[in-house]
């Protein structure tokens, strides 16, 4: 459409001959940069990729560059929690590359310098829609996983407050409601992420599930998780137990705990779930949410709490709201206060360049104008350097 408009000045002579050869070698699905035409591609690789794959060693010089996560690691560290579009991109490109960005670096710096004797510090990532909060969270999680922390990752708290088909009355507390399906799914993913810890941590209480089954004191946490997965009715209680035990035991210093919740504003908002008599359910009446709220309080030591507030998926919140105060509401804000807010904003020019280069390297941008400066300017204007929008726009090219 607009790109087909007759332009005022002829652009032909401005096109770089190097770019043409880039166009010429369109090898299908070759993630590694082209080996012929070494010099320009080396230059582009330097901008958009880094060979430093350990998040602990990422620094200022890596801002705007992508680092690789191997597929095995991806399966263990992120059984859930990656945004769906990113998962599709990983599948398409056959590699998982995350961009190193300033907010994540800032948070990494804080995490590296945490004092585990002090109560857990809360960090809240906030920003407008599509700026990269979830992926920054995933960056942090990857770092912590590499550092051998125990990751407690709730991929999207909004999923727990809406569209739940089966709500059971909780066995533990008659006032609350169970969500067996969500709890069991989460337990499965939790098990995949933290296999090695589950056998080491021992439960410190006896838990009776029903007349025939119970978990003795001192048995490994894996049993509780198994119980939750196999008996779906008890899954929510299993989750509650897991959370309680982890909180208790991280203070002892056995392991370091990272609590990562995406969309934490769901814990204090409204739900779309209703009882049989059509009266709405508040979040406190959901057992999962209740236990999670306890987790997010900073009355334990030995770890950190990293949270994201997002409007996407939130219920009854205006589209333009992105500040923590607006999204959390008064109650949530007071509960989370004090926290360290970290703003995640749109790409800066260097990051934008890096992103475009990454797509070009993976042959994702097939439009002939995509290589040119004008094409980049168009993309810049249309997406206003918003990562999410840029990704969606590039999907069409």
């Amino acid at each position: 459409m607009l790109k087909g408009m007759t332009r005022l000045v002829s652009r032909v002579h401005k096109l770089d001959p190097g770019r043409f050869s880039h166009l010429g070698t369109q090898a299908p699905q070759c993630p590694v940069a082209h080996l012929d035409n070494q010099v320009p591609t080396e230059r582009t690789r330097a901008i958009s990729r880094t060979l430093e794959n350990d998040p602990a060693k990422h620094g200022e010089q890596h801002v705007g560059q992508h680092y690789n996560i191997s597929i095995q690691e991806l399966k263990t560290v992120f059984p859930h929690g990656l945004p769906p579009r990113f998962v599709m991109q990983v599948k398409t490109f056959n590699e998982a590359c995350l961009m190193v960005r300033k907010p994540a670096l800032e948070l990494l710096h804080y995490l590296k310098n945490t004092n585990f004797a002090h109560p857990a510090v809360r960090y809240v990532l906030y920003g407008e829609k599509g700026t990269g909060k979830t992926l920054s969270l995933c960056h942090i999680i990857h770092f912590c996983a590499k550092q051998d922390w125990l990751i407690l990752h709730i991929p999207d708290a909004h999923l727990w407050v809406k569209n739940c088909r089966d709500l059971l009355q909780s066995t533990y507390n008659k006032q609350r409601f169970d969500q067996p399906l969500e709890a069991s799914i989460w337990l499965k993913n939790f098990k995949t992420a933290n296999e090695r810890f589950l056998s080491q941590i021992k439960v410190q209480d006896k838990y009776v599930w029903n007349k025939r089954e119970s978990t003795e004191k001192g048995s490994p946490l894996a049993e509780v998780v198994e119980q939750g997965i196999m008996r779906v009715r008890n899954a929510t209680d299993a989750v509650g137990i897991v959370l309680k035990e982890l909180k208790r035991q991280s203070s002892l210093g056995v392991f370091r705990l990272l609590v990562a919740v995406d969309g934490v504003n769901a814990l204090w908002g409204r739900t779309t779930l209703k009882r049989e008599d059509k009266s709405p359910i508040t979040p406190e009446e959901l057992a999962l949410i209740y236990n999670l709220r306890k987790m997010v309080k900073n009355d334990w030591q030995g770890g950190a709490i990293v949270l994201t507030v997002s409007q996407t998926g939130s219920l009854f919140k205006p589209r333009k709201a992105y500040l923590p105060q607006e999204l959390l509401g008064k109650e949530g804000f007071d509960t989370l206060d004090p926290f360290i807010p970290i703003l995640v904003s749109n790409y800066n020019p260097k990051e934008f360049e890096g992103c475009i280069q990454y797509y070009l390297e993976n042959n994702w941008l097939q439009h002939e104008k995509a290589h040119t400066e004008e094409g980049k300017k168009e993309l810049l204007f249309l997406s206003n350097r918003n990562p999410g929008l840029l990704e969606r726009l590039c999907a069409y090219l």
Binding site: M1, K377, E378, N384
Partner: protein
């Protein structure tokens, strides 16, 4: 003027109605005063204006019009128009001597405000030359002999024009040869005359000659004229060629380009306004910036989540290759998402005019960036045809190239009483089927509502179906031609709705529907219902 006044008699109430809308008392007073002195011709003039069509380009040629206007008639119309113009000037309080056609138009829009959407349907008062199409005078004399020597070519004006032009071409070539022989031949470029003007288009030529032309004729004529203009001509020939050229404004720079303004920090900026449908926007474009656009205090990414709107905003900058060089702050109100985007685009383009060269302004104008989009929402029209009163819906479908309408009507059998029982006179009620058996009288109680459902179990009542078909052709199954599959499907559908098992079409366009065993009567849709043509 007896005859015109008679025709105007019916129009008087109409006149008064219109006069009632005039708000000015002064106008009314003058109107009433003028009415008495007003010649009936004026009334008729304006009355006729209501009914005569506005000037259009295509069907102006005399051959297409049935009525013919005599020369006297046209002259009379012109007199009446002039007198009417003077009266109108008096009415409006203007000087009749200097009352131009624009003033006339203005007066008419004031006196007869019309909300009609189609501009050509509004009241007009124009010179009869523009309203009545040009007619050809009678072309043969009393003895039947045509006046013009080229009458029998059929297009006498065209051929005489070609003849004249060719004569001039020969003359010019002869002169050129003479000049060459004398050695005074000089290459004079004639291109100066041709720039800034264009040849007549075919419709204009047709209008000029009052004759219908074909495309080849037109092309031939233009070629001849171009040949003539290529030769060195004298004044008479140039004037001849000039008759067939119209000026074209090459660069219409109607709007002014505001100069740049400077704010306190010395940054150059410029404002522009734009409108689209009901949205109004005002944009301030700053000379140096990074491509940020702020709308009503909100970033344009948040204000326009849809990519299409952002592409609209990108258009002016992308066109001028200034993406990311200007900062914009704008305010917009009214309209919807898309019209706000269009309004802002127009405002930004107008503001950008101050920063760019004149050529670029012209490019933008040609690209359509500087034109207000004239499209507005069409007002709702009233229903002309009343709704069908209740009953079974009329089904319309297309088949066999004809438009079929099938309507079920319950028509009692002709000549029989509606109830088989004795009915009271005046009572049009039908007996209830379930109450009676065939042939036995039923007790008919007045006041009780009976309803009769002609259907499968009551073969005496006719299930008359009105089937109307318009257009198309029907062929017999046994004859040449086949029913199209859509035709078949539609007839099958009609048959099903009529509870008929088979149908066949016979010559003459009769469709017979045959019922199932024991079902209702067979129906025949006869030629009186259909307007058929032999299928070609």
């Amino acid at each position: 003027m007896a005859a015109p006044s008679v025709s105007c008699g019916a129009a008087v109430p109409y006149r008064l109605f219109l006069a009632g809308r005039v708000s000015f008392a002064r106008e009314q007073g003058l109107w009433k005063a003028a009415a008495s002195g007003l010649q009936t011709g004026t009334r008729c003039q304006i009355l006729r204006l209501k009914h005569s069509p506005a000037v259009t380009t295509t069907k102006n040629v005399a051959a297409l019009r049935r009525e013919s206007y005599t020369v006297d008639f046209i002259k009379k119309q012109i007199e009446e128009f002039n007198i009417g113009k003077r009266h109108l000037a008096n009415m409006m309080g203007e000087d009749p001597e200097t009352f131009t056609q624009e003033d006339v138009d203005r007066a008419i829009t004031y006196l007869f405000p019309s909300g009609l959407f189609e501009k050509r349907a509004r009241p007009i008062m124009k010179h009869p030359e523009e309203i009545f199409p040009k007619q050809r005078a009678v072309q043969w004399g009393e003895d039947g002999r045509p006046f013009h020597f080229l009458f029998y070519t059929g297009k006498q004006s065209y051929y005489s024009l070609m003849h004249e032009a060719y004569g001039k071409v020969l003359h010019a070539e002869e002169r050129q040869d003479q000049l060459r022989a004398k050695g005074l031949f000089s290459e004079k470029s004639k291109s100066k005359d041709l720039i800034g003007s264009r040849w007549l288009i075919k419709e204009e030529l047709e209008e000029m000659l009052v004759e219908k032309l074909s495309d080849q004729d037109y092309a031939q004529f233009i070629r001849l004229l171009e040949r003539l203009s290529a030769l060195p001509c004298d004044a008479a020939e140039e004037e001849f060629v000039g008759r067939f050229r119209r000026t074209v404004t090459v660069q219409s720079k109607k709007h002014l380009i505001e100069p740049l303004q400077y704010d306190e920090q010395g940054m150059a900026f410029s404002t522009g306004q734009g409108k689209r449908k009901t949205a109004n926007a005002e944009a301030v474009v700053y000379g140096h910036g990074s491509g940020k656009i702020e709308i009503n205090g909100v970033d344009y990414l948040l204000y326009f989540p849809v990519t299409q709107d952002r592409e609209q905003l990108m258009f002016p900058f992308h066109f001028l290759d200034r993406l990311g060089k200007h900062d914009v702050t704008c305010t917009v109100s009214g309209g919807g998402r898309s019209s706000q985007a269009g309004a802002i685009r127009l405002a930004m383009s107008r503001a950008l005019c101050s920063f760019i060269t004149e050529d670029e302004v012209e490019w933008m104008r040609q690209a359509g960036l500087l034109t207000t989009d004239p499209r507005v929402r069409e007002p709702r029209r009233e229903r002309i045809y009343p709704k069908r009163k209740g009953g079974a819906p009329r089904q319309i479908f297309w088949g066999l190239g004809a438009r079929w309408e099938v309507e079920r009507t319950k028509i009692p059998p002709q000549g029989q009483q509606s109830c088989r029982a004795e009915a009271e006179p005046g009572c049009g009620r039908w007996a209830d089927n379930q109450d009676e058996e065939l042939g036995s009288p039923a007790t008919h109680r007045p006041g009780r509502d009976h309803r009769c459902y002609p259907g499968a179990d009551d073969s005496s009542v006719d299930t008359r179906l009105q089937i109307r078909a318009r257009g198309g052709g029907l062929t017999c199954l046994g004859c040449t031609g086949r029913l199209t599959s859509s035709g078949n499907r539609h007839l099958l559908w009609a048959a099903r709705s009529l509870d008929a098992e088979t149908w066949h079409v016979s010559i003459g366009g009769t469709v017979h529907f045959h019922p199932r065993q024991g079902a209702g009567p067979s129906l025949t849709v006869t030629a009186s219902h259909l307007r058929t043509q032999q299928a070609s």
